[in-house]
Amino acid sequence: MSLSVRLRHRLPGFALDAAFDAPPGVTALFGRSGAGKTTIVNAVAGLLRPDAARVVIEDAVLCDTDAGIWTPPHRRRVGYVFQDARLFPHLSVRANLTYGARFTGRRPRAPFDHVVGVLGLAALLDRSPGALSGGEKQRVAIGRALLSAPRLLLLDEPLAALDDARKAEILPYLERLRDDTQVPILYVSHSAVEVARLATTVVALDAGRVLCAGPADDVLSDPAAVRAIGVREAGSVLTGIVVAQHDDGLTEIAVAAGRLLLPRIAAQAGAQVRVRIEAQDVLLARQRPEGLSALNILPATVRATRRGNGPGVMVQLSAGGELLLARITRRSADALNIVEGADCFAVVKSVSVARLDVGIRDAAPGPRS
């Protein structure tokens, strides 16, 4: 299923004019505070009636101002996790979670116990929302949306209030949701780690306009686009296949350019994985370095370099045909003579690639086996 959004709306002091297509999978809305992310999500959910809009899921037209079509929110079947949790204060956590259940019709639903387990809500089921902590509220809100068997998930900064450990538990679940079900997800987040891990498509917004949009791998490794997102988070995504699980807790992954050793990933040999490597975690050397604690050294060719105003240089590498980004200082680039066409070695520490950055794809993007 795919989502197509075309919106124009004026608010006092703010004008939104955005259009993007979201293929199946997770589409991340990225942008600064006040860029218009929540406004877009509200329009998709039908909570905002835009001046002009056309929103289509697969072939269901949710709203088309030209044609005078308007589907009311409750028939849009979107699961919306609000930026503010908006739990029903008069219902228990359990009743909040099951609120949407009676409207799911015959669509397949996530099993209640499973969602509760993943989100760590078991101990809270009989509590009242007023007595929950900020993060607990947000987890209940996520569960409530998931259990309404939506045909589109809208997540507005769902994990912002959560600690990393909790995030690390919930992210794989969202991943599985993305891969197992065909539910498209519109995901608002400030965290490039989350976005890189989940998103198939990234839409970068600024002041109500789309700055750039496209497949996550492209946008996140496009130095120009990366500027809009925030330099620190630039990185590239390599696709690989799990080759073996080693005894010392490392997983060996074959990527186009060679082998990577990463901290254990819970995936069978043969499973396809996406590995995000932040540009700043990549070191370059002209000769293959020896005696370093870094285990992963990939041969690569410089495709382009881009110098900004700062001290850094973004280097686009081709590693076995795949794109790899490295961010080094200008001084190093000059010293090592990193120019277009130069051959070099990319050094990536194993532990630099934290677990949060590795996404599992049980099913390869393409026909299932």
């Binding site: 959910a45 039908g46 909570l47 009311p72 929110p73 409750h74 028939r75 849009r76 079947r77 979107v78 699961g79 919306y80 609000f82 503010d84 908006r86 739990l87 029903f88 204060p89 008069h90 609120y99 949407g100 409207f103 799911t104 009242s128 929302p129 007023g130 007595a131 409530r144 949306a145 309404s148 809208l154």
Partner: protein, 231 residues
Amino acid sequence: MDGFGPEIWQAIALSLKVAFWAVAASLPAGILTGYALARWRFPGKGVLNGLVHLPLILPPVVTGYLLLLAFGPQGPLGRALTALFGGGIAFRWTGAALAAAIMAFPLMVRAIRLAVEAIDPRLEEAAGTLGAPPLWVFATVTLPLAAPGILAGAVLAFAKAMGEFGATITFVSSIPGETRTVPSAIYTFLQVPGAEPAVLWLVALSLAVALSALWISEAVAQRLSRRVRGL
């Protein structure tokens, strides 16, 4: 002065019956009206609002007279009722209940309206995104959240209905066992020199009844509003 036994108890029972049914029967309309005034925009909203307040502004006698015009045996509504159910409501306790309900209606509606206005519409939106159609949202989100206000409105209305007299006696007069409520009994005694002790008696009785209703409702309200706060 305690010799007037049965008639008094009859009046009290009748008052309770009238007030209860006045509130119970008008509650749905009151909730609908309060909700409409709080949330909807429609032409004639101002007129509806004025109409609701009318019984408060008009002297009760006038309201009673207008009721008589409409529901009396010759009135258009009265005739319709007779045709439909084979009996009107004039001179019946049902008529007293109608008069009490109409007099209490503005109080009930105002309380409900305030309660609905205080509900965060974003909660209703959230329910909508979960697939709940508007009526279901109303029943499962709006109504429970407005419950303390609805209760307050019902209590106000009940108190008013217990005390109502002007419109009632004008509309359905004062027939023992049928429409002679406590207030009209009190009025009767007030007209007679020297009946003050009887009046005191009756006042104390009706107070006791109304106040116990009030206190019970307070206890319920407290529990309700704690639930609504989500504690």
